[in-house]
């Protein structure tokens, strides 16, 4: 009875008996993958909770899922957490959008002038090799200990690599397209707006995806250094007062926000590239 019901559910939408068997096997596997994922999560959280309660690990250092959950609701209800999340997300979003846009603009500039491209090459290599977070102190004295510095950190960490990647992408557009455009008498500007730029949109979105992750690094480090609020500040503050529950709770929130943001960019990618070839 149950088996029959299961079979029917697993083979819904089948075109034939062979297709039904194929679907059953595929969906059964889908099911096991999902169940295994949940089991891992539940065992991890359960093991953590039990270890903490029975004193196998130090609850003061490693906290426990239930404490983190309680703290999360407490801070959510007094509204502070929402503000911190909002500030950090704002900084990150502006950071990666500015970084990607500035990188693309710079790439356009050096594409437009091969001379400039050759001149700037060693500078870009040096800047790219440089660990950008080390520039923190300079940003603080320039932009003040606050929003500006944190934002710049997010931009700095993304802009150079974006410039290099996008410029490379501009140059890798097949010479056949350049030949075609030139044979029609296209100007360099027309070539850029009609062919080069649209052809490189997939690479720009790929850069955007990478930059989401990078901007989080820049913003969190920036908040470590200067901030009075934000998730990075919560992590730092929790560490200083030795409230590890707060640290871990903030980490989980960062992970969730970063994942959601990455997913959003992935959706945007799918939408923008819906007509393109998959090759």
């Amino acid at each position: 009875m149950v088996k029959k019901w299961m079979d029917a559910r697993l083979s819904r939408g089948a075109k034939s008996e062979i297709h039904a068997r194929y679907l059953r096997r595929l969906r059964l596997q889908d099911g096991w993958v999902g169940i295994t994922r949940w089991i891992i999560l539940i065992m991890f959280l359960g093991g953590w909770e039990i270890s903490s309660r029975s004193g196998w690990i130090d609850p003061f250092l490693f906290s426990s899922p239930s404490r983190i959950w309680n703290l999360f609701f407490e801070m959510l209800s007094d509204g502070n957490l929402i503000d911190d999340i909002g500030v950090t997300i704002l900084e990150t979003v502006i950071g990666f959008i500015l970084g990607t846009a500035a990188g693309t603009a710079l790439a356009t500039l050096i594409w437009a002038s091969p001379f400039l491209s050759r001149v700037l090459d060693p500078y870009l290599v040096v800047l790219n090799s440089m660990p950008k977070v080390a520039l923190g102190p300079l940003f603080i004295v320039t932009f003040g200990a606050g929003f500006g510095s944190i934002l710049m950190m997010g931009v700095a960490i993304t802009v150079v690599i974006t410039t290099l990647v996008i410029h490379n992408s501009f140059r890798s557009v097949s010479t056949d397209y350049l030949k075609l455009a030139r044979s029609f008498g296209a100007t360099r500007r027309q070539l850029y707006t009609r062919i080069i730029f649209p052809a490189c949109i997939p690479d720009m979105i790929a850069a955007l995806k990478v930059n989401v992750g990078l901007a989080w690094v820049g913003v969190i480090v920036g908040e470590f250094l200067v901030s009075k609020n934000g998730l990075g500040y919560l992590i730092m503050y929790g560490f200083q007062v030795f409230n590890l529950t707060l640290v871990i709770m903030s980490l989980v929130v960062v992970a969730i926000c970063a994942t959601v943001m990455y997913e959003a960019v992935s959706r945007l990618e799918k939408y923008l590239l819906r007509h393109r070839n998959l090759e």
Partner: protein, 256 residues
């Protein structure tokens, strides 16, 4: 047919320069093409036939000598000329219709009248039903047909074809050849076709220039007899004089 040449190459040479080397691609090459002629340039790969086409297209400049179109020295891509490549180079993010307007946009002649002409061409080549499709939805043969429409849409007087049918399968190649010849019928166009396909050259051209050697030069000129010229590309392949001429070309190619 007037005898004033529409394309002239006067002792043209081309050397490709790099920091390390200088590669001589052409020995002095000279030829004339009369209005309305269909001329093929054949030769093994690396003999400089594509270089000659790029020179006529004004994409590169000769090292010595000069190329003239309608008596004027070619210094940049000429508006009378349209150039078609082996790759279709369709823009994936534009519909078929917007793809065929590309040349019109670049030439600053994208108006209602020329767009209408381009749409008629699309119809003539049996593609009107895919006007709103995106290139990724089309087969290789279809894509190349769209590229042909884009090439013709700028209403050229001279057509330069760089192995335009070598990337499609045999059946599509024959089909495209027929379509091209039919499209040329009502338009007075001069065609210079570069190909390594001897059959294609024989089936389509009025005259064949055989290139060879490194640096390349023109080894021989072959006038295609009326029997083949008046037949369609497909019919020409079945004519009695086709095979012997093919053998002549084949031997000519083998020598170099």
């Amino acid at each position: 047919m007037s005898d004033t040449p529409v394309i002239e190459a006067l002792r043209v040479t081309k050397a490709y320069l790099s920091r390390e080397d200088e590669i001589q691609a052409l020995e002095p090459v000279s030829f004339e093409i009369r209005p309305g002629e269909f001329v093929s340039l054949i030769g093994s790969s690396g003999c400089g036939k594509s270089t000659v086409l790029s020179l006529v297209a004004g994409l590169i400049q000769p090292t010595e000598g000069e190329v003239r179109i309608a008596g004027e020295k070619v210094e940049a891509p000429n508006r009378r000329v349209s150039y078609m490549l082996q790759r279709d180079c369709l823009l994936d993010w534009r519909t078929v219709e917007d793809n065929i307007f590309l040349g019109l946009e670049f030439r600053g002649m994208n108006d209602e009248a020329t767009r209408k002409q381009a749409r008629l061409l699309l119809k003539e080549l049996g593609l009107e039903h895919i006007a709103k499709h995106f290139p990724s939805q089309l087969s290789g043969g279809m894509r190349q047909r769209v590229a042909l429409v884009r090439t013709l849409a700028v209403q050229p007087k001279i057509l330069l074809l760089d192995e335009p049918f070598s990337a499609v399968d045999y059946q599509n190649k024959l089909h495209l050849e027929e379509l091209l010849i039919r499209a040329l019928e009502n338009r007075s166009m001069t065609v210079l076709l570069v190909t390594h396909d001897l059959e294609e050259a024989l089936a389509m051209s009025d005259r064949i220039l055989v290139m060879g050697g490194r640096p390349g030069k023109i080894r021989r000129t072959l006038e295609v007899p009326e029997e083949l010229r008046s037949a369609s590309p497909l019919e020409a392949r079945g004519k009695p004089s086709f095979r012997p001429l093919f053998d002549v070309l084949w031997k000519e190619m083998e020598l170099w």
